[in-house]
Symmetry: C2
Subunit: 283 residues, 2 copies
């Protein structure tokens, strides 16, 4: 008999078969129970309300950039980032069984996915791109509606889930196409046992605002640079109610358990109007 | 007789009556000839191909953040930013004449505009939000189709252009809602005579990449901070082909004619793999 393990329930945005679904399985194992949500805000709210015990969100893509809305939600909700994973995004042209390549006149997918298959779409001018709310959801829809002139662009997994057929594999413009996902928990939840094989370092994510003065971002970054802490990402977002002022989201290599990180945070606290650690996790 | 003035032809994204249209009129005067385009890329291309002699693009909104796609196009095309202007975004509920407030079941607008009227939409749950490609375009569409259960969210100007009626004025959640627009010209075009009343300073926009080393962004920003140059904006975008590396777009207060700015650029050049000045303009 297999050992008794606790099943986790994780929310993500999109339909079954979405890349976020794949990320959830990677974080929590094949046996986790998933709860698809329509919007990112619902994913954060489901975790807050205790409907799930974890949430999976995309935070950035190497081609399209950051998922800015999720940066905003990270600030708005009081969750903690407990893990990250990078999923390679492979897009496929997927149609109902019996629908041939030449019959395709419309291609449904999330605007980001359509934007990542521009060469394929340019080579196939007969295929009109139709933005849809979700990649896997577009597979579900062309199947449910039994469309005979339409295809979807989505993951290979989603073709399997909905019983559709892959007409062309890997039609993305750029193979350097990865999405970084976060696994979130409520702040007061006890730690999760995660498979962290091969992970040797730590990353800490934080958000801060600086005073609106000359050189304030430079001074804020000095808290890290003077302690030889590497930043892997910086993202600015508008500060609500203060036009032309910004929040800065920073990822740094290091753990909040390390003294130099603690000192850097203490130093930044002196310079920042607001500072919050969003999470510390293995990389 | 009025003095003979040269008319300018400016491209912008959206339909007549879009906020970009308003920005174009502000930049170039009421007599400028406008060329609406469907996509931002077409706006940049129309300028490149000489179909217009100026282009107007939104670059950031104080609530929604940057228009990241346009940052990417600024790099991809060889245009120059020659002016900026901030337009206050006032959203209105607009319907065909004869359609009353209580009849409205669907509200069409650009996703950004819908997202900026969340309180109004929450107070009116009977109104389903329908994302559309453009604010003013949604007014045009509800008028052309003579919809009797639909309204659009758009500028007051667009109601006038399409003969529609404003049912509710200023329904945006936040009055601190401004969009910053750039006026672009080709690099080799001669200077334009612009109305720059009240503008006393200069701003310079640039883009650079740093070597992927600890502290490299900090060092890059030192080129400005050590010369007391204020940055008003920093934006990071993914660097294509190099996953998890970034381009940085920076706006600083100062002109490329000033010696300290020239020295800062020289210093940054030592540290940066790539550096390009995107424009220098009055503020």
């Amino acid at each position: 008999m297999p050992p008794k393990t606790r099943l986790h329930r994780a929310a993500f945005q999109g339909e079954l078969g979405a890349f976020s679904h794949e990320a959830a399985l990677r974080f929590l194992g094949r046996n986790c129970v998933v709860q698809p949500c329509q919007r990112f805000e619902e994913v954060f709210a489901a975790l807050q309300d205790g409907k799930v015990d974890a949430a999976v969100i995309p935070i950035e893509n190497t081609l399209h950039g950051s998922v800015h809305e999720n940066y905003d939600h990270l600030l708005q909700f009081d969750h903690t980032i407990i893990a990250e994973t990078n999923v390679r995004i492979v897009h496929n042209l997927i149609a109902p069984p019996g629908v041939g390549y030449k019959a395709i006149r419309r291609v449904f997918s999330h605007p980001v996915a359509l934007n990542q298959c521009l060469r394929f779409l340019a080579e196939n001018p007969a295929m009109e791109r139709v933005p849809f709310y979700d990649t896997a959801g577009s597979v579900k829809m062309v199947m449910e509606q039994g469309l005979t002139d339409a295809a979807a662009i989505a993951s290979a997994v989603s073709a399997g889930i909905y019983g559709a057929r892959i007409l062309r594999r890997s039609i993305e413009d750029d193979r350097q196409n990865f999405t970084r996902f976060f696994l979130l928990r409520r702040n007061n939840q006890r730690p999760l046992q995660l498979d962290e094989t091969g992970k040797k370092g730590w990353k800490t994510s934080l958000v801060f605002t600086t005073r609106n003065q000359a050189g304030s971002l430079f001074k804020a970054l000095s808290a890290f640079a003077l302690r030889d802490l590497s930043l892997t990402k910086i993202e600015s977002r508008p500060l609500r109610g203060k036009p032309w002022e910004y929040l800065f989201y920073v990822d740094l290599l290091g753990s909040v358990e390390e003294q130099r990180v603690q000192r850097a945070l203490g130093h930044l606290q002196e310079l920042a109007d607001m500072l919050r650690v969003l999470g510390c996790y293995r990389v």
